[in-house]
Amino acid sequence: MMSVRVRAFARFRELFGDRLEVAVSSPAMIRDVVMALGQVNADGLLELLDGEGRVKNSVIILVNRERITGKGREEHPVADGDEVAIYPPVAGG
């Protein structure tokens, strides 16, 4: 097992807290870290996922402050001690 730091912004901070650490099996990818958030707040996890159980493509994800994009971003590797940040853009005006 390894430990990954998670920073949640705005609505996700409400759901999961400000800064937390999750334990995931090594080797790990972004998807493992996201799914581990379900142990913190199972209902909250549903706000992160789309109807097919994938991370909503609107959610901004950064690993060690670097933006991770593209279709395969959930498979992006995460190492012990890395920081994963998540933010859900908003739409209202």
Binding site: F9, A10, R11, R13, E14, D18, D50, K56, N57, S58, I60, L62, R65, E66, R67, T69, G70, K71, A85, Y87, P88, P89, V90, A91, G92, G93
Partner: protein, 277 residues
């Protein structure tokens, strides 16, 4: 007169550097290039910060505000109060009672009126020295470029990403800075786009959030709208550091203003090569 003002702004010309000369001063005041006594009095508390040249820059500026709702209300009020000389406001909607928890330009008596009509009336009453153009229309691909024409700055105070992306494209096409903002609940976000130099809205958010996003505490729109107005004033005055290549995220519940780094996407379909991602 407007043409002269625009030329002065674009050429970065500063009236106060014109040699002192009574005849010249009279001519500039009559032509609207110098501040009137009423303007000097109105802006007394900001002139020490921005100078007469800064105030003249604001007066010579043309700003298009897309959206006269929750974000648009504080943005418009403070740009008008600051003395931005020409404001073009665009919104297709009419005032409804359920707007009034946050859209502070409008009141009970305005229900049923076009928001732009209600807003323009309040802004002209607040500051009769500025010009206000009210366009009761939605931003769409057929009108956005024309809407942006002649503007120094575009402000995205819209409530939907379809319009936002169109405005972003118009900003890129005409090389006009754009300040984007959006709000929901207790949270809001802002980024400034300098076309070709910083991440555009499409780079920042290539996929719009899904679903309706309507629950909001009115203060959120107020706070984020005022950040947007401040960003606009800084851009017009060329003061301070703009929020480019960064997404400012306001979290009202935790009293935090976080910064999420952004960067231009070389494959962006608006400002990059257009390759799919």
């Amino acid at each position: 007169m407007m043409r002269l003002r625009t030329i002065m702004f674009q050429d970065d010309y500063i009236v106060s550097t014109v040699p002192a000369c009574t005849e010249m001063a009279d001519m500039l005041w009559v032509s609207g290039l110098m501040l009137s006594e009423r303007e000097r009095e109105r802006y007394t508390r900001q002139l020490p910060l921005i100078g007469e040249d800064g105030q003249e820059r604001l007066r010579g500026a043309s700003v298009c505000v897309a959206g006269a709702g929750g974000l648009g209300s504080p943005v418009l009020l403070y740009l008008a109060a600051a003395g931005v000389g020409r404001i073009r406001l665009v919104d297709p909607d009419r005032v409804e009672r359920n707007n009034l928890n946050r859209q502070i330009l409008h009141s009970e008596a305005d229900i049923g009126r076009f928001k732009v009509e209600s807003a323009a009336e309040k802004l002209r009453a607040l500051n009769p020295d500025i010009e206000v153009e009210a366009l009761p229309a939605a931003v769409d691909s057929g009108n956005a470029s024309q809407m942006a024409r002649g503007m120094d700055l575009l402000l995205d105070a819209l409530d939907n990403y379809e319009g936002r992306y169109i405005l972003n494209s118009a900003a890129f096409e005409r090389k006009i800075p754009l300040v984007h903002a959006a709000v929901s609940g207790f949270h809001g976000q802002l980024t400034t786009v300098i076309p070709g130099k910083t991440a555009c809205l499409q780079c920042a958010m290539p996929h719009p959030p899904e679903g309706e996003d309507t629950a909001i505490i009115g203060v959120t729109a107020g706070i984020v709208g005022l950040l947007q107005a401040l960003e606009a004033i800084k851009i017009l005055l060329r003061k301070g550091e703009i929020a480019g290549n960064v997404l400012l995220v306001w979290d009202g519940l935790w009293c935090r203003l976080d910064q999420i780094p952004l960067s231009r996407d070389p494959d962006c379909m608006v400002c990059g090569t257009g390759d799919y991602r």
